[in-house]
Subunit: 293 residues, 2 copies
Amino acid sequence: MDIEAYLSQKKKLVDAGLEAILSQEDMPVESLRQGVRHAVFPGGKRIRPILTIAACEAVGGDCPQIVPIACCVELIHSYSLVHDDLPAMDNSDLRRGLPTVHKVVGEGIAVLAGDELLTLAFETLVNLDGIDDRKKVGLIRELARACGTAGLVGGQSLDLEAEIKELEKTAVEEIARRKTAALIESSVGMGAIAGYADDEDVARLQEFGRLAGLAFQIIDDVLDAEGEQEALGKPVRSDKERGKATYPATFGVCESKAYAEKLTDEAIACLGSFGQKAEPLREIARLLSRRKG
Amino acid sequence: MDIEAYLSQKKKLVDAGLEAILSQEDMPVESLRQGVRHAVFPGGKRIRPILTIAACEAVGGDCPQIVPIACCVELIHSYSLVHDDLPAMDNSDLRRGLPTVHKVVGEGIAVLAGDELLTLAFETLVNLDGIDDRKKVGLIRELARACGTAGLVGGQSLDLEAEIKELEKTAVEEIARRKTAALIESSVGMGAIAGYADDEDVARLQEFGRLAGLAFQIIDDVLDAEGEQEALGKPVRSDKERGKATYPATFGVCESKAYAEKLTDEAIACLGSFGQKAEPLREIARLLSRRKG
């Protein structure tokens, strides 16, 4: 299959879906509107929502609202970036080659823009037309788990502490699991739930997401470590310099790459029973573990 | 009725419910645990969750999970205080006579503690045992509306802008409606939904909450303006000095008090059809508009 064409087509759907969600919001203040939009557009590769759509396809699901459901994952991802970039957190001035949200609208409105994106994800899910209440509850549960202490908040708080303390090897993996793998697991899980998959298939796809998500974070850290500033569009300070707990800083670049490859193979092995319909998921997992930027 | 005994009894239930919710959370970092707990305990009068319980009683509802449902409103209120107090927002060092969360655990963890409380409210609602999916969806919808641009985020962003610009009189009311009245409306609305009220009764109780919530904010601003530092436990800088848009700064203290009294009467008038069962709601509305601290 032509995975590049697939990704490009789905990205357009996601971008249009995000535009539709944001344009419905009555933003009372121009700076808030600007901050929220800057957090969401132009955005990155939209990998998480594309995984949601691909997971729904993998279970043969036909969900008329799969695009807005997928967009909610991207709203959560965007919120986490806005808050993580704040001076009191990672203190990043650049993201994907552009000034971060707080550099554009100030810190106060940046905090609120993140709060709004987090809220909007749950609000959008709960207000979806044509989705039965059981499915809504399943989707909200799946997304909430990835946001809390087992996910984004837990991972980022561990990461903040890790800048101060020396870390065990297991702790490095724990941060990546919560900070990155949890939301990718939920992205895939939500696609399966949206497609009315049975519990076993949901669990298989969640496991796929967990493993592929961990590989994704390892490669991200490897790319940071290799200093590909232009490709990533963010300033490179080595993780060791910043005292950050990452895979390459702890295990070395070579071992990290091999581990990511192994995780990707394990992830793809979870998809055995889904046949051809899961081919986009397999291709995406391979792409993520071999990307150069 | 003895409203003080009623409030004291319900506050104990709410405090125990909050303790139960927080103790279930696996906090990976001690500072996050500390920040979240400091945001929630000892807390204030717990007026919002008590209104949720009282609204459920007013519709004759018997909901076994009314206490955790009510606690979710308090989690949201706590989150909004943590973020509002941040240096980039209202820059408050004290809250209820104690250091604010960011003074105790630092700004980064304070942002995350707020994010966690916001997430935890939705996660708790969606995972409630013994509540059918339709009711969960209704409760989540009601709470989400109070958090977004029509509620807390919208109100706080208007408030931030109001520190810079001169405000019209209508804008002062708009801020109070979003920042305070929306969550009190939802607190009452959630109690009605939890008690399986019909749509008309939910709407009557929401209107009660909206009016009583507006009165609550006006009296809050009046107390600030009158400078009752000890009673409120926060430092007094006059709203005019801070360039804040409040009722007393715009309309004067005397007119503000009269307006709060009028709103309270209108709120109580919404409860006509509920008879004796709504007596706690009436008493709370009267208390809120006449409190001295």
